[in-house]
Symmetry: D2
Subunit: 140 residues, 4 copies
Amino acid sequence: MPTPFHTTRFVEFADTDMAGIMHFSAFFRFMEAAEHSLLRSLGLSVFKEIGGEVITFPRVAASCEYHSPARCEEVLEIDVTVDRVGTKSVTYGFAFSHNGRDVATGKMTSVCCRVPHGGQPASIPIPDEVGTKLRKLAGT
Amino acid sequence: MPTPFHTTRFVEFADTDMAGIMHFSAFFRFMEAAEHSLLRSLGLSVFKEIGGEVITFPRVAASCEYHSPARCEEVLEIDVTVDRVGTKSVTYGFAFSHNGRDVATGKMTSVCCRVPHGGQPASIPIPDEVGTKLRKLAGT
Amino acid sequence: MPTPFHTTRFVEFADTDMAGIMHFSAFFRFMEAAEHSLLRSLGLSVFKEIGGEVITFPRVAASCEYHSPARCEEVLEIDVTVDRVGTKSVTYGFAFSHNGRDVATGKMTSVCCRVPHGGQPASIPIPDEVGTKLRKLAGT
Amino acid sequence: MPTPFHTTRFVEFADTDMAGIMHFSAFFRFMEAAEHSLLRSLGLSVFKEIGGEVITFPRVAASCEYHSPARCEEVLEIDVTVDRVGTKSVTYGFAFSHNGRDVATGKMTSVCCRVPHGGQPASIPIPDEVGTKLRKLAGT
């Protein structure tokens, strides 16, 4: 069973919409922030410089299923799992809950990219030191 | 073949992130705006009052696959298809492109809900007048 | 000298723009979140129900002066002062800094409003229990 | 009297908050988008390359006064004036209205900056070709 990484997130007034609940797009910002927390917990960063090159992880796919509304001032529990570590990409799973109530589940696949100064991101194999840490979290 | 609904969207500076491209979560706001344009083109509204009740369409699932970056000041072409009209829900497909280049594809499933004053949304069958119009767009 | 309320805020990737720094509009979300933290520290809430009525504080004015950029993964220090408590409104001051570097200063004036179910906000005198607490923070 | 630049903006569902109106921070995104429209109408761009250098206009101050709520699906009228063209900075004024109703007024001061590749923005005198066009709009 994969070891989940756990974090929390406070739902702010600015995250809500006129339906009185958190806007559905905010879950994607929360997933990204949780992914970045996980990366930092491994000693990485959003824009990690390894061997003089900037390594970053733009996403190629993101999805969310909404089970119950998140509301202003709720503290959401977020469990993150590393579902798959490929040669160049990582897939994360996210489970949002509040006081034991299932709120949403999500998935995100990020691709390891090298970004030259002022240039286009180009996908590359995940560096060993990063891949090893991610695979450990994945339990594989 | 389903008739696509077509709209465009200008990528603004505020939609970008420090990677120099449109933030991945902005595609979800753009999908929602396109869905609402489609609903307005059918004479509906985001919060439609039918027979004294407010009808709205919160989403239960949303996903996006990213194929190439969208950049500031680009006008994205957005084709929307009505992929499935169920008793209570609608599934839309979205294709984003720029000058013929494939940018992203997405999917969103919205559930028809009745919202009583100050109360919780409750899912209901899609009203006939709405369902008929959506099914016509779906080509089914 | 007014007693400052202090909070912090982590700058996320989604808060940045293509200039590589935090987008200027994000400071306003951060000010609002800090204001709401201050209100909660007084036992209030964003939507406070007092005597069967919902009391909220929409803003009538907001401003920010930018002195140096805020960057991704920085933890901003935010000092909030209650600059003025009027009969119906409160003016807050905000000072953002990072490691002693001045980042921005802001101001926000919020008006106490009663919101009837499904109706328009109407400004009202700040309830005594709230006004007393705010004036104490203002040092007046 | 300064010649106003005019644009419009549709209020989307994602711009609203749980108070049922457009979130106050959205006005700042709208002001920036209107400023950029004005710059494009002068043949400029958000990131303008002049003589091999990238010229951009980060803001040093922004403010907004809120007079009445903006609501979902409203088309806001936005009048932009160029209030002051300094050596290095421009100050814009914004007036938001809907069907003749005053919604909000704002102000924004942007500073002309040169951005070297991967470096910090440094303020510079506004290039002549840009300054001339802005001063003409300012009527000075």
